[in-house]
Protein backbone atom coordinates (compact mmCIF):
# COMPACT_ATOMS: atom_id res chain seq x y z
CA UNK A 1 0.00 0.00 0.00
CA UNK A 2 1.18 3.50 -0.76
CA UNK A 3 1.97 5.63 2.23
CA UNK A 4 -0.71 8.27 2.69
CA UNK A 5 0.63 11.84 3.03
CA UNK A 6 1.51 13.24 6.43
CA UNK A 7 -1.10 15.35 8.17
CA UNK A 8 -0.69 18.41 10.39
CA UNK A 9 -1.39 17.79 14.08
CA UNK A 10 -1.38 20.36 16.86
CA UNK A 11 -0.77 18.90 20.29
CA UNK A 12 -0.74 20.64 23.65
CA UNK A 13 1.51 18.57 25.89
CA UNK A 14 2.33 19.54 29.48
CA UNK A 15 1.24 23.11 28.73
CA UNK A 16 3.42 23.51 25.62
CA UNK A 17 2.03 23.70 22.07
CA UNK A 18 3.58 21.61 19.30
CA UNK A 19 2.82 21.76 15.58
CA UNK A 20 3.81 18.52 13.89
CA UNK A 21 3.46 16.72 10.59
CA UNK A 22 2.87 13.04 11.21
CA UNK A 23 1.84 9.97 9.27
CA UNK A 24 -1.93 9.64 9.93
CA UNK A 25 -1.65 6.19 11.53
CA UNK A 26 0.91 7.23 14.14
CA UNK A 27 -0.21 6.89 17.72
CA UNK A 28 0.06 9.47 20.45
CA UNK A 29 2.63 7.21 22.15
CA UNK A 30 4.86 7.18 19.08
CA UNK A 31 4.72 10.95 18.72
CA UNK A 32 5.34 11.60 22.43
CA UNK A 33 8.35 9.31 22.54
CA UNK A 34 9.87 9.71 19.10
CA UNK A 35 9.03 13.26 18.05
CA UNK A 36 8.80 15.09 21.37
CA UNK A 37 11.39 13.08 23.31
CA UNK A 38 8.96 12.44 26.15
CA UNK A 39 9.93 8.85 27.02
CA UNK A 40 8.08 8.67 30.33
CA UNK A 41 5.16 6.88 28.69
CA UNK A 42 6.35 3.37 27.84
CA UNK A 43 5.31 0.74 25.38
CA UNK A 44 4.67 -2.53 27.18
CA UNK A 45 2.20 -4.55 25.14
CA UNK A 46 1.19 -2.08 22.43
CA UNK A 47 -2.39 -3.38 22.50
CA UNK A 48 -3.90 -1.55 25.47
CA UNK A 49 -3.63 -4.36 27.97
CA UNK A 50 -0.74 -3.33 30.24
CA UNK A 51 -1.23 0.37 30.94
CA UNK A 52 2.39 1.55 30.82
CA UNK A 53 1.58 3.99 27.99
CA UNK A 54 -1.22 5.68 29.95
CA UNK A 55 -1.29 9.48 29.78
CA UNK A 56 -4.02 11.96 30.70
CA UNK A 57 -6.11 13.44 27.91
CA UNK A 58 -8.36 16.26 29.15
CA UNK A 59 -7.75 14.95 32.66
CA UNK A 60 -8.78 11.38 31.98
CA UNK A 61 -6.46 8.39 31.57
CA UNK A 62 -6.11 6.97 28.05
CA UNK A 63 -3.96 4.37 26.38
CA UNK A 64 -1.62 6.43 24.21
CA UNK A 65 -0.73 3.28 22.23
CA UNK A 66 -4.37 3.01 21.10
CA UNK A 67 -4.97 6.74 20.54
CA UNK A 68 -4.07 8.24 17.20
CA UNK A 69 -1.99 11.41 17.58
CA UNK A 70 -4.62 13.23 15.50
CA UNK A 71 -7.32 12.15 17.97
CA UNK A 72 -5.49 13.97 20.77
CA UNK A 73 -5.62 17.30 18.96
CA UNK A 74 -7.37 20.06 20.85
CA UNK A 75 -7.18 18.45 24.29
CA UNK A 76 -4.72 19.01 27.10
CA UNK A 77 -2.25 16.12 27.23
CA UNK A 78 -0.41 15.45 30.48
CA UNK A 79 2.53 13.06 30.69
CA UNK A 80 4.57 12.10 33.71
CA UNK A 81 7.18 14.70 32.72
CA UNK A 82 4.65 17.48 33.27
CA UNK A 83 2.87 16.20 36.36
CA UNK A 84 4.97 17.93 39.03
CA UNK A 85 4.39 21.32 37.42
CA UNK A 86 0.63 20.97 37.77
CA UNK A 87 1.09 21.08 41.56
CA UNK A 88 0.61 24.66 42.81
CA UNK A 89 3.02 26.25 45.27
CA UNK A 90 5.65 23.72 44.43
CA UNK A 91 9.25 24.39 45.44
CA UNK A 92 12.01 24.01 42.85
CA UNK A 93 12.63 20.32 42.19
CA UNK A 94 9.68 19.17 44.26
CA UNK A 95 7.51 16.31 42.93
CA UNK A 96 3.73 16.03 42.78
CA UNK A 97 2.26 14.58 46.00
CA UNK A 98 1.25 11.38 44.16
CA UNK A 99 4.84 10.96 42.94
CA UNK A 100 6.18 11.69 46.43
CA UNK A 101 3.84 9.12 47.93
CA UNK A 102 5.07 6.48 45.48
CA UNK A 103 8.66 7.24 46.51
CA UNK A 104 7.92 7.36 50.24
CA UNK A 105 5.84 4.18 50.27
CA UNK A 106 8.01 2.15 47.90
CA UNK A 107 5.36 2.06 45.19
CA UNK A 108 8.16 2.00 42.61
CA UNK A 109 10.37 -1.02 41.99
CA UNK A 110 11.71 -1.24 38.42
CA UNK A 111 9.74 1.88 37.50
CA UNK A 112 8.42 0.74 34.13
CA UNK A 113 4.75 0.85 35.12
CA UNK A 114 5.15 3.90 37.36
CA UNK A 115 4.32 6.71 34.89
CA UNK A 116 1.04 5.05 33.89
CA UNK A 117 0.32 4.00 37.44
CA UNK A 118 0.93 7.50 38.86
CA UNK A 119 -1.06 9.32 36.16
CA UNK A 120 -3.99 6.92 36.48
CA UNK A 121 -3.90 7.39 40.25
CA UNK A 122 -3.79 11.18 39.83
CA UNK A 123 -6.90 11.14 37.63
CA UNK A 124 -8.63 8.84 40.12
CA UNK A 125 -7.85 11.18 43.04
CA UNK A 126 -8.97 14.25 41.06
CA UNK A 127 -12.38 12.66 40.68
CA UNK A 128 -12.55 10.75 43.97
CA UNK A 129 -10.43 12.59 46.53
CA UNK A 130 -11.10 10.09 49.34
CA UNK A 131 -11.28 6.70 47.64
CA UNK A 132 -11.73 3.44 49.46
CA UNK A 133 -9.06 0.81 48.98
CA UNK A 134 -11.51 -1.07 46.73
CA UNK A 135 -11.96 2.05 44.59
CA UNK A 136 -8.19 2.41 44.25
CA UNK A 137 -7.88 -1.22 43.22
CA UNK A 138 -10.67 -0.82 40.66
CA UNK A 139 -9.16 2.44 39.38
CA UNK A 140 -5.78 0.76 38.86
CA UNK A 141 -7.22 -2.50 37.55
CA UNK A 142 -6.02 -1.71 34.05
CA UNK A 143 -2.41 -1.11 35.09
CA UNK A 144 -0.06 -4.07 35.24
CA UNK A 145 3.04 -4.12 37.50
CA UNK A 146 5.28 -7.07 36.65
CA UNK A 147 7.31 -6.55 39.86
CA UNK A 148 3.91 -7.26 41.48
CA UNK A 149 4.30 -4.44 43.95
CA UNK A 150 0.56 -3.86 44.06
CA UNK A 151 0.24 -3.70 47.84
CA UNK A 152 2.70 -0.84 48.08
CA UNK A 153 1.22 0.87 45.03
CA UNK A 154 -2.25 0.86 46.62
CA UNK A 155 -0.72 2.09 49.90
CA UNK A 156 1.01 4.90 47.97
CA UNK A 157 -2.25 6.06 46.39
CA UNK A 158 -4.09 6.00 49.72
CA UNK A 159 -1.25 7.98 51.30
CA UNK A 160 -1.39 10.48 48.44
CA UNK A 161 -5.12 10.86 49.03
CA UNK A 162 -4.39 11.72 52.68
CA UNK A 163 -1.77 14.25 51.72
CA UNK A 164 -3.91 15.88 49.02
CA UNK A 165 -6.83 16.00 51.42
CA UNK A 166 -4.89 17.87 54.14
CA UNK A 167 -6.62 21.12 54.93
CA UNK A 168 -9.69 20.10 52.93
CA UNK A 169 -13.05 19.79 54.71
Amino acid sequence: MNRPPKIPVELRVNGADHELWVAPERTLLEVLREDLGLTGAKEGCGVGACGTCTVLLAGRPVRSCLTLASEAQGAEILTIEGLAETWPNRAEGELHPVQEAFVAHHGIQCGFCSPGMILTATALLDETPRPTEAAVRHGLSGQVCRCTGYTKIVASVLAAAERLGEGQP
Partner: protein, 333 residues
Protein backbone atom coordinates in the same frame (compact mmCIF):
# COMPACT_ATOMS: atom_id res chain seq x y z
CA UNK B 1 7.16 -0.43 18.82
CA UNK B 2 4.05 -2.26 17.62
CA UNK B 3 2.87 0.07 14.87
CA UNK B 4 -0.28 0.51 12.84
CA UNK B 5 -0.02 -0.19 9.13
CA UNK B 6 0.03 2.92 6.91
CA UNK B 7 -3.56 4.13 6.90
CA UNK B 8 -5.45 7.19 5.82
CA UNK B 9 -7.63 8.76 8.51
CA UNK B 10 -10.65 10.76 7.44
CA UNK B 11 -12.31 13.23 9.82
CA UNK B 12 -15.75 14.07 8.40
CA UNK B 13 -17.15 17.60 8.92
CA UNK B 14 -20.60 16.30 9.71
CA UNK B 15 -22.67 13.13 9.77
CA UNK B 16 -23.75 13.61 6.14
CA UNK B 17 -20.16 13.61 4.96
CA UNK B 18 -19.44 10.51 7.04
CA UNK B 19 -22.40 8.67 5.51
CA UNK B 20 -21.37 9.73 1.98
CA UNK B 21 -17.94 8.29 2.57
CA UNK B 22 -19.35 5.04 3.98
CA UNK B 23 -21.66 4.67 0.98
CA UNK B 24 -18.82 4.93 -1.53
CA UNK B 25 -16.95 2.10 -3.18
CA UNK B 26 -14.31 0.52 -0.91
CA UNK B 27 -15.58 2.26 2.25
CA UNK B 28 -13.27 3.02 5.21
CA UNK B 29 -13.53 1.23 8.53
CA UNK B 30 -15.38 3.14 11.22
CA UNK B 31 -13.13 4.29 14.08
CA UNK B 32 -14.95 5.07 17.33
CA UNK B 33 -12.77 4.84 20.46
CA UNK B 34 -10.28 2.57 18.72
CA UNK B 35 -9.62 0.41 21.77
CA UNK B 36 -10.47 -2.75 19.82
CA UNK B 37 -10.17 -1.78 16.14
CA UNK B 38 -6.63 -0.40 16.45
CA UNK B 39 -5.52 -3.61 18.17
CA UNK B 40 -6.96 -5.62 15.26
CA UNK B 41 -5.16 -3.39 12.75
CA UNK B 42 -1.87 -3.76 14.65
CA UNK B 43 -2.38 -7.53 14.50
CA UNK B 44 -2.70 -7.39 10.73
CA UNK B 45 -6.46 -7.61 10.36
CA UNK B 46 -6.68 -4.94 7.68
CA UNK B 47 -9.26 -4.29 5.03
CA UNK B 48 -11.17 -1.18 4.14
CA UNK B 49 -9.78 1.97 2.64
CA UNK B 50 -8.49 3.82 5.68
CA UNK B 51 -10.32 4.88 8.80
CA UNK B 52 -13.36 7.10 9.26
CA UNK B 53 -12.91 8.76 12.66
CA UNK B 54 -16.16 9.67 14.42
CA UNK B 55 -14.65 11.47 17.42
CA UNK B 56 -15.25 15.00 16.11
CA UNK B 57 -18.92 14.41 15.27
CA UNK B 58 -21.57 15.29 17.87
CA UNK B 59 -22.72 11.69 18.34
CA UNK B 60 -22.38 11.49 22.12
CA UNK B 61 -24.63 12.36 25.02
CA UNK B 62 -27.61 11.03 26.89
CA UNK B 63 -31.05 12.65 26.69
CA UNK B 64 -34.45 11.86 28.16
CA UNK B 65 -36.90 10.78 25.47
CA UNK B 66 -40.58 9.79 25.70
CA UNK B 67 -40.17 8.64 29.29
CA UNK B 68 -37.11 6.60 28.32
CA UNK B 69 -33.65 7.52 27.17
CA UNK B 70 -31.72 8.17 23.98
CA UNK B 71 -28.04 7.30 24.25
CA UNK B 72 -25.72 8.68 21.58
CA UNK B 73 -23.48 6.05 20.00
CA UNK B 74 -20.47 8.31 20.52
CA UNK B 75 -20.99 8.51 24.29
CA UNK B 76 -17.76 7.41 25.98
CA UNK B 77 -18.15 4.45 28.31
CA UNK B 78 -16.63 6.62 31.04
CA UNK B 79 -19.58 9.01 30.69
CA UNK B 80 -22.02 6.09 30.94
CA UNK B 81 -20.23 5.01 34.15
CA UNK B 82 -20.81 8.48 35.64
CA UNK B 83 -24.39 8.74 34.32
CA UNK B 84 -25.96 6.43 36.96
CA UNK B 85 -29.69 7.22 36.53
CA UNK B 86 -32.26 5.77 38.92
CA UNK B 87 -34.16 2.66 37.83
CA UNK B 88 -33.17 -0.25 35.59
CA UNK B 89 -31.16 1.98 33.21
CA UNK B 90 -28.78 2.59 36.11
CA UNK B 91 -27.49 -0.92 35.53
CA UNK B 92 -25.99 0.34 32.25
CA UNK B 93 -23.59 2.46 34.31
CA UNK B 94 -22.60 -0.54 36.37
CA UNK B 95 -22.08 -2.70 33.27
CA UNK B 96 -20.03 0.03 31.56
CA UNK B 97 -17.73 0.06 34.60
CA UNK B 98 -17.09 -3.65 33.99
CA UNK B 99 -15.82 -3.10 30.45
CA UNK B 100 -12.02 -3.57 30.34
CA UNK B 101 -10.60 -0.98 32.80
CA UNK B 102 -11.08 2.75 33.41
CA UNK B 103 -8.45 4.06 30.93
CA UNK B 104 -10.09 2.04 28.14
CA UNK B 105 -13.52 3.34 29.18
CA UNK B 106 -12.27 6.90 28.56
CA UNK B 107 -12.06 6.36 24.81
CA UNK B 108 -14.26 3.30 24.28
CA UNK B 109 -17.79 4.29 23.23
CA UNK B 110 -21.29 2.88 23.46
CA UNK B 111 -21.46 2.47 19.67
CA UNK B 112 -18.07 0.79 19.61
CA UNK B 113 -19.17 -1.67 22.27
CA UNK B 114 -22.38 -2.38 20.37
CA UNK B 115 -20.41 -3.00 17.18
CA UNK B 116 -17.52 -4.87 18.83
CA UNK B 117 -16.16 -7.56 16.54
CA UNK B 118 -16.47 -11.18 17.61
CA UNK B 119 -13.36 -12.75 19.08
CA UNK B 120 -11.45 -16.04 19.05
CA UNK B 121 -8.14 -17.26 20.47
CA UNK B 122 -7.12 -18.23 16.94
CA UNK B 123 -8.00 -14.84 15.41
CA UNK B 124 -7.09 -12.17 17.98
CA UNK B 125 -3.37 -12.82 17.67
CA UNK B 126 -0.45 -11.18 15.93
CA UNK B 127 0.16 -11.89 12.24
CA UNK B 128 3.31 -13.78 13.28
CA UNK B 129 1.42 -16.00 15.74
CA UNK B 130 -1.21 -16.75 13.12
CA UNK B 131 1.37 -17.51 10.42
CA UNK B 132 1.89 -20.98 11.91
CA UNK B 133 -1.54 -22.14 10.70
CA UNK B 134 -3.60 -21.68 7.57
CA UNK B 135 -5.89 -18.63 7.85
CA UNK B 136 -9.17 -19.31 9.60
CA UNK B 137 -12.61 -18.43 8.24
CA UNK B 138 -12.72 -15.12 10.09
CA UNK B 139 -9.36 -14.18 8.58
CA UNK B 140 -10.63 -15.04 5.09
CA UNK B 141 -9.59 -18.71 5.03
CA UNK B 142 -11.49 -21.96 4.71
CA UNK B 143 -10.92 -23.68 8.06
CA UNK B 144 -11.95 -23.25 11.70
CA UNK B 145 -9.21 -23.97 14.24
CA UNK B 146 -11.59 -23.69 17.21
CA UNK B 147 -14.06 -26.27 15.86
CA UNK B 148 -12.08 -28.31 13.31
CA UNK B 149 -14.22 -29.50 10.40
CA UNK B 150 -16.92 -26.94 11.12
CA UNK B 151 -18.60 -25.30 8.13
CA UNK B 152 -18.96 -21.98 9.99
CA UNK B 153 -17.06 -19.47 12.12
CA UNK B 154 -17.67 -19.72 15.88
CA UNK B 155 -15.98 -16.46 16.94
CA UNK B 156 -17.48 -15.35 20.24
CA UNK B 157 -19.58 -12.24 20.87
CA UNK B 158 -17.97 -10.74 23.97
CA UNK B 159 -19.37 -7.21 24.21
CA UNK B 160 -20.67 -6.35 27.69
CA UNK B 161 -23.43 -3.85 26.96
CA UNK B 162 -25.55 -5.59 24.27
CA UNK B 163 -26.95 -8.36 26.53
CA UNK B 164 -28.08 -5.79 29.10
CA UNK B 165 -29.48 -3.38 26.50
CA UNK B 166 -31.39 -6.29 24.93
CA UNK B 167 -32.78 -7.19 28.35
CA UNK B 168 -33.93 -3.57 28.67
CA UNK B 169 -35.77 -3.76 25.34
CA UNK B 170 -33.49 -1.32 23.54
CA UNK B 171 -33.81 -0.30 19.93
CA UNK B 172 -30.98 0.90 17.76
CA UNK B 173 -31.09 3.87 15.41
CA UNK B 174 -29.10 3.40 12.24
CA UNK B 175 -28.30 6.19 9.79
CA UNK B 176 -27.43 5.94 6.13
CA UNK B 177 -27.49 8.26 3.13
CA UNK B 178 -31.16 7.43 2.64
CA UNK B 179 -32.19 8.44 6.16
CA UNK B 180 -32.43 6.90 9.61
CA UNK B 181 -34.31 3.82 10.70
CA UNK B 182 -34.97 2.31 14.09
CA UNK B 183 -35.12 -1.39 14.72
CA UNK B 184 -34.87 -3.82 17.62
CA UNK B 185 -31.29 -4.11 18.85
CA UNK B 186 -31.44 -7.89 18.44
CA UNK B 187 -31.58 -7.45 14.66
CA UNK B 188 -28.11 -5.91 14.75
CA UNK B 189 -26.59 -9.31 15.49
CA UNK B 190 -26.41 -11.98 12.79
CA UNK B 191 -24.98 -14.85 14.82
CA UNK B 192 -22.30 -15.33 12.13
CA UNK B 193 -18.92 -15.15 13.84
CA UNK B 194 -17.28 -13.96 10.65
CA UNK B 195 -19.71 -11.10 9.96
CA UNK B 196 -21.47 -10.48 13.28
CA UNK B 197 -23.15 -7.15 12.46
CA UNK B 198 -26.37 -6.91 10.48
CA UNK B 199 -25.60 -3.51 9.01
CA UNK B 200 -26.09 -2.83 5.31
CA UNK B 201 -23.22 -1.15 3.45
CA UNK B 202 -23.21 2.56 4.26
CA UNK B 203 -25.04 2.21 7.57
CA UNK B 204 -23.82 3.66 10.85
CA UNK B 205 -25.21 3.12 14.37
CA UNK B 206 -26.10 6.55 15.77
CA UNK B 207 -28.24 6.05 18.89
CA UNK B 208 -29.62 3.50 21.31
CA UNK B 209 -33.23 4.12 22.32
CA UNK B 210 -34.43 2.79 25.64
CA UNK B 211 -38.19 2.51 26.28
CA UNK B 212 -39.59 3.76 29.59
CA UNK B 213 -39.14 1.22 32.40
CA UNK B 214 -42.44 -0.16 33.69
CA UNK B 215 -43.10 0.54 37.37
CA UNK B 216 -41.70 -2.14 39.65
CA UNK B 217 -39.01 -3.27 37.22
CA UNK B 218 -35.35 -4.03 37.71
CA UNK B 219 -32.36 -5.22 35.70
CA UNK B 220 -28.95 -6.69 36.39
CA UNK B 221 -25.85 -7.76 34.45
CA UNK B 222 -23.34 -10.35 35.66
CA UNK B 223 -20.03 -11.23 34.05
CA UNK B 224 -17.48 -14.04 34.36
CA UNK B 225 -13.86 -13.25 33.54
CA UNK B 226 -10.49 -14.61 34.63
CA UNK B 227 -9.38 -11.31 36.21
CA UNK B 228 -11.60 -8.63 37.73
CA UNK B 229 -9.99 -6.10 35.40
CA UNK B 230 -9.41 -5.79 31.67
CA UNK B 231 -10.79 -9.12 30.51
CA UNK B 232 -13.63 -9.63 28.10
CA UNK B 233 -16.47 -11.76 29.50
CA UNK B 234 -16.06 -15.52 29.16
CA UNK B 235 -19.76 -15.80 29.99
CA UNK B 236 -22.34 -13.17 30.92
CA UNK B 237 -26.02 -12.84 31.74
CA UNK B 238 -28.43 -9.94 31.77
CA UNK B 239 -31.89 -10.22 33.32
CA UNK B 240 -34.74 -7.72 33.52
CA UNK B 241 -37.92 -8.40 35.47
CA UNK B 242 -41.24 -6.70 36.18
CA UNK B 243 -42.94 -7.28 39.49
CA UNK B 244 -46.72 -7.08 39.69
CA UNK B 245 -48.78 -5.76 42.62
CA UNK B 246 -48.99 -9.23 44.19
CA UNK B 247 -45.23 -9.76 44.25
CA UNK B 248 -45.17 -12.07 41.22
CA UNK B 249 -42.97 -11.78 38.16
CA UNK B 250 -45.15 -10.34 35.37
CA UNK B 251 -42.48 -10.30 32.66
CA UNK B 252 -38.83 -11.20 32.27
CA UNK B 253 -36.06 -11.03 29.73
CA UNK B 254 -32.98 -13.23 29.98
CA UNK B 255 -30.05 -12.62 27.60
CA UNK B 256 -26.72 -14.46 27.62
CA UNK B 257 -23.41 -13.04 26.47
CA UNK B 258 -20.12 -14.62 25.39
CA UNK B 259 -21.52 -18.14 24.90
CA UNK B 260 -22.11 -17.87 21.15
CA UNK B 261 -21.56 -15.63 18.15
CA UNK B 262 -24.37 -13.25 19.16
CA UNK B 263 -26.09 -12.25 22.41
CA UNK B 264 -28.61 -15.01 23.07
CA UNK B 265 -32.12 -14.44 24.40
CA UNK B 266 -33.48 -17.50 26.23
CA UNK B 267 -37.31 -17.61 26.22
CA UNK B 268 -37.32 -20.87 28.24
CA UNK B 269 -35.43 -19.14 31.04
CA UNK B 270 -37.88 -16.25 30.93
CA UNK B 271 -40.83 -18.66 31.10
CA UNK B 272 -39.28 -20.26 34.20
CA UNK B 273 -39.38 -16.89 35.99
CA UNK B 274 -42.75 -15.47 34.89
CA UNK B 275 -45.60 -16.12 37.32
CA UNK B 276 -43.26 -17.01 40.17
CA UNK B 277 -41.87 -14.95 43.05
CA UNK B 278 -38.37 -15.98 41.91
CA UNK B 279 -38.10 -18.74 44.47
CA UNK B 280 -35.26 -21.23 44.34
CA UNK B 281 -37.04 -23.56 41.93
CA UNK B 282 -37.75 -20.74 39.48
CA UNK B 283 -34.13 -19.58 39.59
CA UNK B 284 -32.85 -23.10 39.07
CA UNK B 285 -35.29 -23.54 36.17
CA UNK B 286 -33.99 -20.37 34.53
CA UNK B 287 -30.38 -21.41 35.17
CA UNK B 288 -30.96 -24.85 33.66
CA UNK B 289 -32.60 -23.33 30.57
CA UNK B 290 -29.61 -21.00 30.16
CA UNK B 291 -27.17 -23.91 30.43
CA UNK B 292 -29.12 -25.79 27.75
CA UNK B 293 -29.24 -22.80 25.40
CA UNK B 294 -25.59 -21.76 25.73
CA UNK B 295 -23.26 -22.89 22.93
CA UNK B 296 -19.75 -22.10 24.17
CA UNK B 297 -16.84 -23.54 22.20
CA UNK B 298 -13.17 -23.60 23.04
CA UNK B 299 -12.19 -20.23 21.57
CA UNK B 300 -11.97 -17.75 24.48
CA UNK B 301 -10.76 -17.84 28.10
CA UNK B 302 -11.89 -20.73 30.34
CA UNK B 303 -13.31 -24.06 29.22
CA UNK B 304 -16.69 -24.45 27.49
CA UNK B 305 -17.96 -26.79 30.22
CA UNK B 306 -17.08 -24.26 32.93
CA UNK B 307 -18.60 -21.36 31.00
CA UNK B 308 -21.80 -23.33 30.43
CA UNK B 309 -22.04 -24.18 34.12
CA UNK B 310 -21.33 -20.62 35.25
CA UNK B 311 -23.71 -18.96 32.80
CA UNK B 312 -26.51 -20.64 34.77
CA UNK B 313 -25.09 -19.25 38.00
CA UNK B 314 -24.90 -15.79 36.44
CA UNK B 315 -28.54 -15.96 35.31
CA UNK B 316 -29.68 -16.85 38.82
CA UNK B 317 -27.47 -14.16 40.35
CA UNK B 318 -28.65 -11.48 37.89
CA UNK B 319 -32.29 -12.53 38.35
CA UNK B 320 -32.01 -12.25 42.14
CA UNK B 321 -30.41 -8.81 41.93
CA UNK B 322 -32.90 -7.57 39.31
CA UNK B 323 -35.76 -8.85 41.48
CA UNK B 324 -34.45 -7.03 44.55
CA UNK B 325 -34.14 -3.82 42.51
CA UNK B 326 -37.69 -4.29 41.21
CA UNK B 327 -38.93 -4.73 44.79
CA UNK B 328 -37.24 -1.49 45.82
CA UNK B 329 -38.67 0.29 42.75
CA UNK B 330 -42.14 -0.98 43.64
CA UNK B 331 -41.81 0.28 47.20
CA UNK B 332 -41.81 -3.20 48.67
CA UNK B 333 -38.16 -3.37 49.53
Amino acid sequence: MLRLPPTEVFYPQDLGQALERLAGANPPRVLAGGTDLLVALKQGHGGGAGLLALSRLPLGGVTARDGGWALGAGTPLADLVRWAPPGPAGEISRAAALVAAPPLQTRGTLGGNLCLDTRCHFYNQSAFWRSGRPPCRKAGGEVCHAVPGSPRCYACHQADLPPLLLALGAEVEVASRSGTRTRPLGELYTGDGRAPLGLAPGELVTRVLLPPSPPGSGAAYEKLRPRQGLDFPAAAAAVSVERDGRGRCAAARVVLGAVGSAPLRVPEAEAALVGTDLDGAALEGAAAAARRAARPVKNVDLTPAYRRQVVGVLVARAARRAWAAAARAGGEG
